[in-house]
């Protein structure tokens, strides 16, 4: 067994423990613990996905899914706050498409989940998760009302490793770009766009 093997097994085991922790906290209404456990589990899932990508095992399983349902679930699992007035709220933007689109549900969920957890750390009060579509693209967005992305992140076409910031380790963004690239259709590839609007604005764009 190599270090990578042990690492993969350990990640799996820690995720199981986090799952038990989250479920227990959930059943006694401890929302903060649930959120932290979900964030930690998400980070581990992203790590595992990265490991697979490095080994060429990260394939894409395109299926038919409804963006509005995914957004509702992602927001729903973070709903409710134990500290009235104190917590960052995560809400869904109105008008996410309620019809079928083609994408890998698990991978997109992983990318958005990581983006949401990062946004929660930077946000002042609100994180808004949304989806929209035009003729050519399906776009998922995560925006917060915090200070926005640092300039070097906006400029960098590929993120330097090791730049740990309020926006995470960079793992999430690396993975987001890989997942976007895995979605291609009609000669168009998906992409990730980082912008500052009223705060950080993350877009995952997939060809439809």
């Amino acid at each position: 067994m190599s270090f990578a093997d042990y690492a993969a097994l350990t990640i799996h085991e820690v995720k199981n423990r986090l799952a038990a922790l989250a479920a227990r906290a959930d059943s006694r209404g401890d929302r903060d613990t649930v959120r932290e456990a979900l964030a930690a589990a998400h980070a581990l899932t992203a790590l595992l996905a990265c490991y697979k990508a490095e080994n060429g095992w990260l394939g894409v399983d395109i299926g038919a899914h409804v963006p509005a349902e995914m957004v509702a679930e992602l927001v729903g699992e973070l709903a409710g706050s134990a500290e009235p007035g104190g917590g960052v709220e995560v809400v869904a933007a109105a008008d996410a498409p309620d019809s079928v689109f083609f994408y890998d549900d698990a991978l997109v969920r992983l990318v958005l989940g990581t983006a949401i957890h990062n946004a929660r750390r930077s946000a002042a009060q609100r994180v808004v998760v949304g989806a929209s579509a035009d003729e050519r693209w399906l776009k998922f967005t995560v925006s917060d009302d915090g200070p926005g992305y640092p300039a070097e992140l906006l400029d960098a076409p590929v993120l330097e490793p090791g730049s740990v910031s309020d926006h995470g380790t960079g793992l999430g963004l690396t993975l987001a770009r890989q997942v976007a690239a895995l979605h291609d259709h009609g000669g168009r590839h998906g992409g990730v766009v980082l912008e500052n609007r009223n705060g950080a604005h993350f877009t995952l764009r997939l060809p439809r």
Partner: protein, 537 residues
């Protein structure tokens, strides 16, 4: 958009090997309104619980401890019709486990829930899945009844509506065309689906159809699929079989080995490797794969006497008869209750024969033949048949081979094995005839019974089917038809103790072996009419 369901009257079964997850899941489920919750910590308990009644929702963890997983359990349940498609089966996983996205569409869970999840996520997901079940209810019922032509037209209606269940319906339709033997239509249909989007299930379906059509494009289709979706283990399995069909066992084993390296614990893959290796005469490889299968399944209900039989055979062929005898001892303790007996005695006979001890071989074979052969799986019957042929009793051996074919006349794999066994014993020349005659006899039997029924000679049909059901208790179609015919006959012309007892016996046998059998409801209704005091019982 969605209606809010109340879960008060819904029955939920939670299967998880970790006690803290069981209790956590239970409290999450009750927090969203479930009141009827059963929990099981292992496959054995789950099977007992499922035999005891119907559940609306099964929430099953993918990892169920050494040797088993939620996918294998689902396959076991579907293969034995222990649950219908009306039951929601949700797999809980720690990561999206593509290894579990295996082969046939009929063995997919309704959904995957990634751990950790909140009660709210569970509720939202359930709402959606129940909505989908309602939309697909008719298609599901037709699939359970294996009325594939009707499945196809029911799917066409949903496809024409172009709503969010479009792709679900397409997936089911492709599988139904395949199951109905309409391979050319399936091929064209999957091509259309791929033109819409290259979805992995559609490419896999295309390759399955191409393989059946003898089209060597199946290989290229699978190579494309593997390049696009390297995580889709089913593609490797199928490519292995395609290579084996082409006689290229070396390439077949190379593909299967590369898949096994990625998911070393998959029983299906190890069994696939063993069967290709057996065809190639590579018994060392058979031994290696089945050793692992036997070790993994030893203490679980998923253990299969067939694995022991094939491993035992590989050991005897490779002059390790002493190991084969050890395997038999080991198996004896594993299969105490469930009829592994005759097959094990047959392996023992083969091993003794190989070790040059014909007396011991004859004694072991006698024990095999004295056992209850009616309960044996086709695989086990083949082992006993093999031992008979090895000892020179070809009449008995061929009779058992015939019975193995007739237990499930549609199982091509059994027919191939019959042919292989016969060629190993130098009687390949009439293998084809034995197989086709055996199949024809069952077809003829059913046709005759139908004809007699139409002519109003239901008593004769019932007598004929009763004899056949006693000879082939593993053929549940015949057992069901026998029970049905007996009951119709008695309702028409009065009952007597013998026929009543036979009907009762066949009905019980069917219920035990296949609680979800499509004819059971009809049989129960007739039974209730015959014995109003007992109700539907």
């Amino acid at each position: 958009m969605t209606r809010i369901t109340t879960y008060k009257d819904k029955k939920l079964l939670i299967i998880d090997d970790m006690p803290e997850m069981r209790s956590a899941l239970r409290s999450q489920a009750s927090s969203i309104g479930f009141e009827q919750i059963s929990v099981c910590g292992n496959v054995r308990d789950a099977l007992d619980t499922l035999r005891g009644g119907r559940f609306d929702v099964i929430l099953c963890d993918y990892n169920l401890g050494p040797g088993t997983d939620g996918q294998q359990l689902l396959e076991h349940l579907r293969a034995r019709r222990l649950i219908s498609r009306g039951t929601l089966y949700i797999m809980v996983t720690a990561e999206k486990n593509y290894d579990s996205v295996i082969t046939a569409a009929e063995c997919l869970p309704d959904d995957y829930l990634l751990k950790p999840f909140t009660a709210e996520t569970f509720r939202q997901r359930l709402e959606r899945l129940l909505e989908r079940k309602r939309r697909l209810a008719r298609v599901d019922a037709l699939q359970d009844a294996e009325r594939w032509a009707e499945v196809v037209s029911a799917c066409d209606e949903i496809i024409a509506a172009r709503d969010r269940y479009l792709v679900d319906a397409m997936r089911i339709k492709g599988n139904a065309l395949f199951m109905d033997g309409r391979y050319a239509e399936a091929e064209a249909f999957y091509r259309e689906a791929i033109a819409m989007r290259p979805m992995p299930w559609a490419r896999l379906g295309l390759a399955r159809a191409q393989r059946q059509l003898g089209n060597n494009a199946a290989r290229a289709t699978l190579e494309t699929l593997i390049a696009e979706s390297p995580q889709l283990m089913a593609a490797y399995d199928l490519l292995g079989h395609v290579h084996a069909d082409e006689g290229n066992t070396e390439a077949a084993l190379r593909v299967l080995d590369s898949a096994a390296a990625r998911s070393p614990r998959s029983l299906n893959r190890l069994r696939a490797i063993a069967s290709v290796a057996e065809e190639a005469g590579d018994y060392a490889r058979v031994q290696d794969s089945l050793d692992k299968v036997v070790r993994q399944t030893r203490h679980t209900p998923l253990r299969d006497p067939g694995d022991y039989a094939r491993l035992g055979k590989a050991l005897t062929v490779t002059d390790q008869a002493d190991k084969a005898l050890e395997l038999v001892d080991d198996a004896r303790s594993t299969f105490r209750e469930d009829g592994g007996g005759p097959a094990l005695a047959a392996i023992e006979a083969l091993a003794h024969q190989r070790m040059g001890a014909p007396d011991k071989a004859a004694a072991a074979l006698q024990r095999a033949l004295d056992g209850d052969l009616g309960k044996l799986s086709p695989e086990a019957l083949l082992t006993v048949a093999n031992a008979c042929l090895a000892s020179g009793d070809s009449a008995r051996g061929e009779e058992l081979l015939k019975r193995a074919v007739q237990t499930n006349p549609e199982a091509k794999a059994v027919q191939l094995q019959v042919t292989r066994i016969m060629s190993e014993h130098g009687i390949a020349d009439h293998a084809e005839k034995l197989v086709s005659d055996s199949v024809q006899e069952v077809v003829q039997l059913n046709n005759d019974a139908v004809r007699l029924g139409k002519e109003g000679r239901i008593g004769e049909a019932a007598a004929m089917l009763t004899a056949a059901a006693d000879r082939l208790p593993g053929n549940l179609q015949i057992v069901a038809n026998a029970a049905y015919a007996l009951l119709v006959d008695m309702l028409a012309s009065g009952s007597d103790a013998t026929r009543l007892e036979n009907a009762r016996r066949f009905r019980e046998h069917l219920r035990k072996e296949s609680p979800g059998h499509r004819k059971l409801a009809d049989i129960d209704a007739l039974w209730a009419r015959l014995q109003p005091e007992e109700g539907g019982g």
